[in-house]
């Protein structure tokens, strides 16, 4: 069985490698992705419309802001679903556990984590806020921030991490992230534009419409970062304990 699977995987891999020779060359200006009118429109206009050097961030948070908002909602719903399924399961699950957990925090690991967790969190803020210029943004910064809480839970125990970031607060913060995102959209709706049309925010803030879009994108990314951070940690806490929220990994 294992051999059949290996041969099958090998065949599919060779097929994909053979198909890869039909790809356009790297950086080819004549390739369909580069010559489509949408791409050339974004390349020509992001710098003028929004003053954001990183086009990916501009497309993600501004031109396709609606899409990203519902991606954030999907992340929130996923965390909520895992939490409620594991929490509300039959009580019998708690009895037949397959392993016991036997922990004692390690001196060297805890001290190293004490040293590097602040560094990780500052790096997460940097990734979040620097997404306009370099690769980064709300999702990446949120994951890095969530990893710092998971690291605390791993090196001490889940109780220590939950004392710093309780599970109820996780979902409050996650919902707050979506409220920030949708609130910026609604604010621009009330100021006379369309939903998530940030240029109209210039009417109440003392900036030009382009810079209003720039700063609104940062606000939106902060909302995404809140949601992703909280849901990452809530997912870890739920999955590592079968929803019991104690005696974790």
């Amino acid at each position: 069985m294992k051999k059949t699977a290996f041969i099958l995987v090998l065949c599919i891999g060779l097929l994909l490698a053979w198909a890869a020779k039909d790809f356009p060359a790297w950086g080819d200006p004549q390739s369909p992705a580069s010559s489509s009118p949408v791409a050339s429109h974004f390349i020509a206009n992001t710098g003028v419309d929004t003053e954001v050097p990183n086009m990916v961030t501009a497309v993600l948070a501004d031109y396709r802001g609606f899409d990203t908002m519902f991606e954030t909602v999907v992340v929130f719903i996923a965390g909520l679903a895992v939490f409620s399924i594991l929490r509300g399961g039959p009580k019998s699950r708690t009895r037949d556990r397959e392993f016991v957990v036997d922990f004692e925090p390690d001196l060297i690991v805890t001290n190293t984590v004490r040293l590097i967790v602040p560094v990780i969190q500052i790096f997460a803020f940097y990734v979040l806020a620097h997404g306009h210029v370099s690769p980064g943004g709300g999702f990446q910064g949120g994951v890095t921030m969530g990893a710092s809480f998971i690291l605390i839970a791993l090196s001490w125990d889940l109780k220590t991490a939950l004392a710093r970031f309780p599970i109820e607060r996780c979902f409050t913060v996650a919902a707050l992230g979506i409220v920030i995102y949708a609130g910026i959209g609604l604010l621009s709706l009330f100021l006379g534009g369309e939903f998530l049309d940030y240029a109209h925010l210039a009417k109440i803030f003392p900036v030009s419409p382009e810079m209003a879009r720039y700063h609104a994108m940062l606000g939106v990314e902060i909302g995404v970062g809140f949601t992703v951070t909280a849901i990452m940690f809530a997912l870890y806490a739920s999955l590592s304990t079968d929803g019991r929220m104690r005696d974790g990994l």
Binding site: F103, I108, F123, V127, T144, I150
Partner: protein, 105 residues
């Protein structure tokens, strides 16, 4: 010169990773496999800087390298905690007389 240095370093790193991959595939215990995967993960940070040199965007790839080194550390801690803290319940019942080995800190 910078490009050639990067290419030669990257190629020799990839060649030197083959013995470590061998240990991942053959390795008698699971710990050998994790250890060698961790070594390759650390070297990936170097390879990311090399790729950045070749694309002339080192400022960008350095951020990736930091994130990769961080996630590599988290992964190693996860695996070691998993093996350290969880004991299958049947084994626990079987050798209750023999206490687990403890490394006192």
């Amino acid at each position: 010169m910078k490009e050639w240095f990067a290419i030669i370093m990257g190629a020799s790193l990839l060649v030197l990773m083959i013995p470590i991959l061998y240990r991942i595939i053959v390795g008698p215990t699971g710990f050998d496999r994790i250890l060698c995967a961790n070594v390759i993960g650390t070297k990936t940070a170097v390879i990311l800087v090399i790729i950045g040199t070749l694309f002339d965007r080192v400022d960008m790839f350095v951020d990736f390298a930091i994130a990769y080194a961080l996630l590599n550390f988290v992964g190693a801690i996860v695996v070691s905690r998993y093996f350290n803290r969880t004991v299958p319940l049947q084994e626990m019942e079987k050798d209750k007389a023999k206490p687990r080995r403890r490394l006192k800190a």
